[in-house]
């Protein structure tokens, strides 16, 4: 998937990934896609929950070697 913006949250634990995610999305334009990387297992549920709460579109999630990759489209 093609992303317009990248965010690296590897090594960070709750609540830093969500704070960074919110800050990054805020600066993006509507319809743009963010690729977020993280290693906190909590992000697997936190990121989709935050998207649902804020109305941003949670597109996809994958995992490789302990790194979670999320794609989020700004509403």
């Amino acid at each position: 998937m093609q992303a317009d913006q990248n965010l690296d949250c590897k090594g960070l634990s709750c609540p830093m990934p969500i704070i960074k995610l919110a800050k990054t999305i805020k600066k993006m334009n509507s319809g743009e896609v963010l690729e977020m990387l993280g290693t906190d297992p909590g992000s697997k549920t936190d990121v989709p929950a935050w998207c649902e709460k804020t109305g941003n579109v949670f597109l996809e999630q994958s995992e490789e070697g302990g790194t979670y990759k999320f794609y989020i489209k700004k509403k």
Partner: protein
């Protein structure tokens, strides 16, 4: 007898996906009631203090040390086996991994842990023993402690948001991950989980084989610690979130889970206190009633709560949240545990006596709510406060009035 694979199916349903936090809340409340029946309900900070005192004892600083070894301190062991339980559970669910965050985050972990130690020793209780257990135990101090947590969390969250803008480098930089549970050649991790469980069963049987009642109690703390750790990791139960989320994302998931957990505990604890259940031979009913009424009503608990709230938000886990995340492999929380362990005896030795001296007696007493309101009044008050909290969390979830992001 069984179709092939049903055990595997059971295992996968327990460890394949996270449990809803409210499920964890109910299960933890039931374990907390069991702990109360065995001896004291769930607490954590006194265990950190004991571990720290043992560390100082080994280092030869006997003025901050203790003669009670970790192996005979029920709460210290409970803490250690919560870490073990979370470790086992994260191995089973393939979520274990040693995650080293950037240096700035590690420092925040340590400072957060140290602040939690000061807060817990000054206020006489943390989010678990002082608040979660304390409120269910009808402690007046639990209420002022909670007010303190709310203030501390709010301020620390503002700091984190400011830090993100003004000092973004703190949470940036090199990070490392090792021993991740997913991918090829990681089957040994699940086997290691089973070995850890076998070790816990061995320790449990060793303690409970003793003729001493105290040793049997300790044995049960080892076993319940393992179970608590597993429930905590699977449900990602987090009291910090209950205080922080309304001000951060506005989600009400964590407050609802913690409210439910306190409700279940409240029923069990009130029955135990009302009837004076447990240890009847050793203790008078009034002594049982005062169990878990630790937090010092009112100003001392408020001050302790504010400092603890700052610490837990900066560290990203309260006393118990630090333990289970440490078991999952987050090195930032290892630093928080270290900060807590080192600072707790220091605070107990130097800061607490000073606070005790400065504050008037009326601002630091143990208040059992039924003593002034009767059992009915006390339970109704706690129910009313839980209802208010619930309404606030749900209203804020909908309107986002207090949420910053």
């Amino acid at each position: 007898m069984f179709k092939k694979g049903v055990l595997r199916e059971l295992f996968d349903s327990l460890f394949g996906k996270s449990w809803p936090m409210w499920v964890g809340g109910i299960l933890l409340a039931m374990m907390n009631i069991l702990l109360f029946v065995i001896k004291y309900p769930w607490g954590s900070s006194s265990g950190y203090t004991n571990i720290g005192q043992n560390l100082f004892q080994i280092l030869g600083v006997t003025s901050l040390g203790t003669k009670v070894p970790i192996s005979l301190h029920a709460v210290a062991l409970l803490n250690i086996f919560v870490v073990v339980g979370a470790f086992v559970s994260s191995l089973f669910s393939r979520e274990f991994g040693i995650r080293i965050s950037p240096v700035g985050e590690l420092v925040k972990g340590f400072v957060g842990g140290a602040l939690m130690a000061i807060g817990a020793t000054v206020g006489a209780g943390c989010t678990t023993g002082g608040f979660f257990t304390g409120l269910a135990a009808l402690s007046g101090g639990a209420l002022t402690l909670a007010a303190g947590f709310m203030i501390g969390t709010f301020v620390a969250l503002r700091y984190l948001l400011w830090e993100m803008e003004a000092l973004p480098n703190i949470s940036m930089g090199k990070s490392f991950t090792f021993l991740i549970g997913t991918g090829k050649k990681t089957g040994w991790q699940r086997w290691l989980g089973w070995i850890m469980i076998a070790v816990v069963f061995f320790l449990f049987s060793t303690y409970t084989a003793s003729s001493s009642g105290a040793m049997k109690i300790i044995g049960w703390h080892v076993m319940i610690g393992l179970i608590l750790g597993m429930i905590l990791q699977r449900s990602r139960y987090c009291i910090v979130r209950a205080f922080r989320e309304p001000f951060m994302t506005g989600e009400a998931t964590a407050p609802v889970a913690i409210i439910l957990s306190i409700l279940v505990s409240l029923v069990g604890f009130t029955v135990i206190k009302y009837f004076g259940v447990g240890n009847a031979g050793e203790l008078a009913t009034c002594a049982i009633e005062m169990k878990a009424v630790y937090a010092n009503f009112w100003l001392r608990a408020l001050i302790g709560g504010i400092i603890f709230g700052l610490g837990m938000t900066v560290a990203g886990g309260c006393a118990v949240g630090t333990l289970w995340r440490a078991g999952e492999g987050h090195v930032k929380l290892w630093m928080a545990a270290l900060g807590f362990v080192i600072m707790a005896p220091v605070s107990k030795g130097f800061i607490v006596p000073a606070v005790k001296k400065i504050l008037p007696e009326s601002m630091q007493k143990h208040l059992f709510l039924p003593d002034i309101l009767g059992y009915t009044g006390a339970v109704v008050l706690v129910l009313f406060i839980l209802l208010l909290w619930f309404m606030f969390a749900k209203w804020n979830e909908k309107t986002g009035k207090f949420s910053a992001i």
